[in-house]
Symmetry: C2
Subunit: 325 residues, 2 copies
């Protein structure tokens, strides 16, 4: 018992300080660095878009918390998307992908934007054919998948492998969970207490502090929005799930404004106040909102250190960008 | 003499093999790493644009040879620019900046796109005010420039400091210049011989293999183009300089298609053939074009290893993106 206590005080990795409803996120062990490197290239590859101007990183910018800080993303020909882009950071921890959960995992998700006419506006076939015109890609896919004639399955598999590495460990709150009692300020600690007492933690729990359930947006009071997204109900055809969305992760929330699926709120404290009101029927005092906002800022972890990949040059047979059509 | 010969054989850095009209590019010694780091942040900072969606790196992508591989860049509201974006790699070696030389150096250049309505579509004042809403920027500028109330001068100074590091040493041709006789293939060596004999080297010489003079595009025969750019003449008002442009660097040319100021030619061999024809009045054989193209591919150097910067979150007072106006 004394030994265990000492370990806690020392804050050794993997040791939880107590039986909390939230768990620290841990570094990922990479089993296939070659695949992750290829996935990184593809994540930054603008030639996966019809215009050759949009990559995964355009909307999930790893310099800015894995998002683009737009109400909704700008896609092909500057078209605005129908919903706020969720962060790619810690996305591997989501139980499903997209706000409406229409993709079961990162691999399936990665296929979506490439072929979405509002986003990268390409087709899977053209994207793959484009990559296949470059010798370096053929070699890399061959090394990893044993085939030079790779398809969209291998492309999205590699992207997913890279995305799985994009976790953000070592947030102040994680350090606190692991026993570093000085990692949070008194205000942040009080914010966390409120976060649990008010009921936020009912949906925002687990390693991702969210990302593991659907919930109705506007559970207690209606959520006023111009956004037309119908959420889970549009996927399953169940009327009662219209307006239900995947509960987003709160990790790195300080970096990922604007908030909610409609990107309507830019201020984190305002988002906290609205959530308490419409999801829990609670009116927070200014102090409570401040404390909980301070707590949420303790969820910013170490951002992935990304060395920008060097992409292979196009070959004479690589299709040219189409920016006007 | 024997000693000198040995040094050449060993290919020690800084030793030129002979009196060639082209010199190797050398690594840059960074005197102010803090300033370079800040400049890197600003280079990747989309909040320098009105839409918060366009950064320097959008058009000068360091994953793809410092260009966007577009005929002309896509700017605010998907507007197409008037001219092909030149590479930022080795741009510090250019005697002036932009195709028409209207900026005297990198600092002056960096100010252009921010305020260009076709590009980032912001104003210098709004860009600076945006940065000043973020505590991290104020601290960093204060540390480097001794003022928290920095202006566009400091912003562009930092960007230029970063850009000065973006050189690409160690190209096969540089290694050959330094005495590594095996660095070029026989074909490449023959291509270089032709490059000199045919007269390409009259304009493409020096460390940047270009970038140190203006020349008329279509010197011997007219250059057929739909592009309306008038080049140097539009800057100076001299009728005789209409159609004159800065001779571009040929370093990393394999990565920077499409070619010419109008971005009209995607194939490097075709670009070589056209240049020989309209600038020098020479009709190249297939073999000659192939050899010179092979030589040009020996000019691809070590690409800068860029760790993606982590940008500070916006504050409640940071102006919001404007994507529609």
């Amino acid at each position: 018992m004394k030994q265990c206590y000492l370990l806690l005080v020392l804050g050794l990795p993997g040791m939880a300080v107590a039986n909390e409803p939230i768990q620290p996120v841990e570094k990922v062990t990479v089993s296939s660095p070659e695949k992750v490197e290829l996935g990184k290239m593809l994540f930054f590859e603008p030639r996966l878009s019809k215009s050759n101007a949009i990559s995964c990183n355009s909307c999930h910018n790893l310099a800015t918390g894995g998002v683009d800080n737009q109400v909704s993303s700008l896609g092909h020909k500057w078209q605005e998307g129908p919903i706020n882009s969720p962060t790619v950071l810690n996305a591997s921890l989501n139980f499903v992908q997209f706000w409406d959960g229409r993709a079961k995992d990162l691999k399936e998700q990665a296929a979506g934007p490439i072929a979405n006419p509002l986003e990268m506006a390409f087709t899977h076939q053209l994207a793959v054919e484009t990559l296949q015109t470059m010798a370096e890609y053929r070699t890399r896919f061959n090394t990893i998948y044993g085939k030079r004639d790779f398809g969209i399955d291998e492309v999205t598999d590699a992207i997913a492998a890279f995305e799985e590495t994009l976790v953000t460990p070592n947030a102040p709150f994680d350090r606190w969970l692991k026993g570093d009692t000085k990692a949070l300020t008194a205000q942040q600690l009080n914010g966390y207490k409120l976060f649990k007492e008010k009921g936020c933690v009912a949906c925002h729990n687990g390693v991702a502090i969210g990302g593991n359930s659907y919930q109705k947006m506007g559970l207690i009071k209606p959520f006023a929005t111009q956004n037309k997204a119908e959420g889970r109900g549009a996927v399953t055809g169940e009327q009662q799930l219209i307006g239900w969305f995947k509960v987003p992760t709160l990790r790195n929330i300080e970096l990922t404004a604007p908030y909610f699926h409609d990107g309507s709120v830019w201020d984190l404290k305002q988002a906290v106040t609205i959530m308490a009101d419409i999801q829990l029927g609670q009116t927070l005092t200014e102090q409570e909102s401040d404390d909980m906002t301070a707590y949420l800022k303790s969820l910013t972890g170490d951002q992935p250190q990304i060395v920008l990949p060097i992409l292979p040059p196009s070959s004479p047979t690589t299709p040219k960008p189409e920016v006007k059509s």
